[in-house]
Amino acid sequence: MSPRQAYSPAVALENVAVIRGNRLVLNGFSLAASVGDIVWIRGANGSGKSTLLRLIAGLLPKTSGQMKIEGRLALADENAALDPNLPLEKALNFWAEMDGAAPDIREAALIAMDLVPLADVPIRYLSSGQRKRVNLSRLFASHASIWLLDEPYNGLDSANTARLDAALLRHSNSGGIALVAAHQSPSINVAQSILLDPQSTAV
């Protein structure tokens, strides 16, 4: 799980605005994260946490401002993106092959979210918390230096919350960046905490 970046990852947003469906969701937003930073993004429902992560992930266009991202990205949001009929391990392997993850990294990612006992269970039989863990495990195996986590704690029990925090800490120690959008604070030290204000200015 140690990302061996050729260069140090960085996320820099300056004065960014995003309009989504005629609503100004982000306005004049700035953010700078560098090596080892864990950034906790918080805010009320609809304040633009997911929009911010989707913007950084390249899934939404920005309306104005500057955005610079260095390093590979990985996203874990509420969508599992796993084929429901495949056993857990095979479903994950599809993405591991896309990401070029070596077998030992895949194994470590399974262990990190305690998924080894579930390896043969088809995705459609998993509970939502278990799906979340699979989703996180894919993120761990992705070899990406910038992790984007959208509500990663939702549906996780305390043991798995601790596993996620441990993985975040390892990622941070090996120089990675993590942007965590969550209501709950990560139980590890975060480099920054950003509060998003709900903007509902119609344009």
Partner: protein, 215 residues
């Protein structure tokens, strides 16, 4: 390239295990089974009209898988995950179309042998029909994926898909049916040209539709 092949084989696997592969094939063969009941066992008439009916059946069969081509992947976040990994929408569309050619066009070509036997098509006509369909089916696969990307998530997507596909596929149908005439040469060349243009443009059209549909 490795990722491209993985996505293509995933398309084929999903069609195979999800039943999407069989639905168009069964529809196609069902048309070939029912048609002689309507016309009566007139061998000359069947030989004359059967090829055209199979062309219409192939075109309509391509409508059947449309709903499962893009929508499930968009809802499950598969398309998002590919975009995060730096895939362009056009490349995703190209992989989807290639997968659909294997999961739809090839089975339908094989089914044509069965269907033409059911209609009693003369052997010479069967070869012409197979050649024509082999040229046209990649274009139909491209059209299907494009329309699937355009209509994914809309209410009444399948009805809309029919409305969109039928007019777009008319050139293929006209030249395709033209190949069944006494001298198929010119029609076959026009069919090849039309299909090539459609198949080549469809990844860009479908890619644009995927991008527009992301929110």
């Amino acid at each position: 390239m490795k990722g491209f092949l993985a996505l293509v084989s995933r398309e084929v696997r999903l069609a195979w295990t999800g039943g999407g592969l069989w639905l168009p094939v069964i529809f196609y063969i069902a048309v070939a089974t029912l048609f002689p009941f309507v016309t009566g066992p007139d061998k000359a008439l069947l030989g004359r009209t059967g090829g055209g009916i199979l062309w219409v059946a192939a075109l309509l069969a391509s409508l059947l898988p449309i709903e499962r081509l893009i929508l499930p992947d968009r809802e499950a976040g598969v398309l998002d995950q590919l975009t995060v990994r730096g895939w362009s929408d056009e490349l995703v569309a190209a992989a989807k179309i290639t997968g659909h050619i294997f999961a739809f066009a090839l089975p339908l070509l094989l089914a044509t042998v069965v269907a033409s036997a059911l209609i009693g098509l003369p052997e010479a006509k069967l070869w012409t029909l197979l050649c024509g369909l082999a040229l046209a089916l990649p274009a139909l696969a491209g059209l299907s994926v494009t329309i699937a990307a355009l209509t994914a998530g809309l209410s009444g997507a399948s009805a809309l898909g029919g409305l969109l596909l039928v007019p777009l596929a008319i050139p293929i149908l006209i030249f395709g049916a033209g190949t069944l005439a006494e001298n198929p040469g010119n029609a076959m060349q026009l069919l090849a040209a039309t299909s090539l243009a459609m198949a080549a443009l469809s990844p860009f059209a479908a890619g644009a539709a995927l991008r527009a549909g992301r929110g």
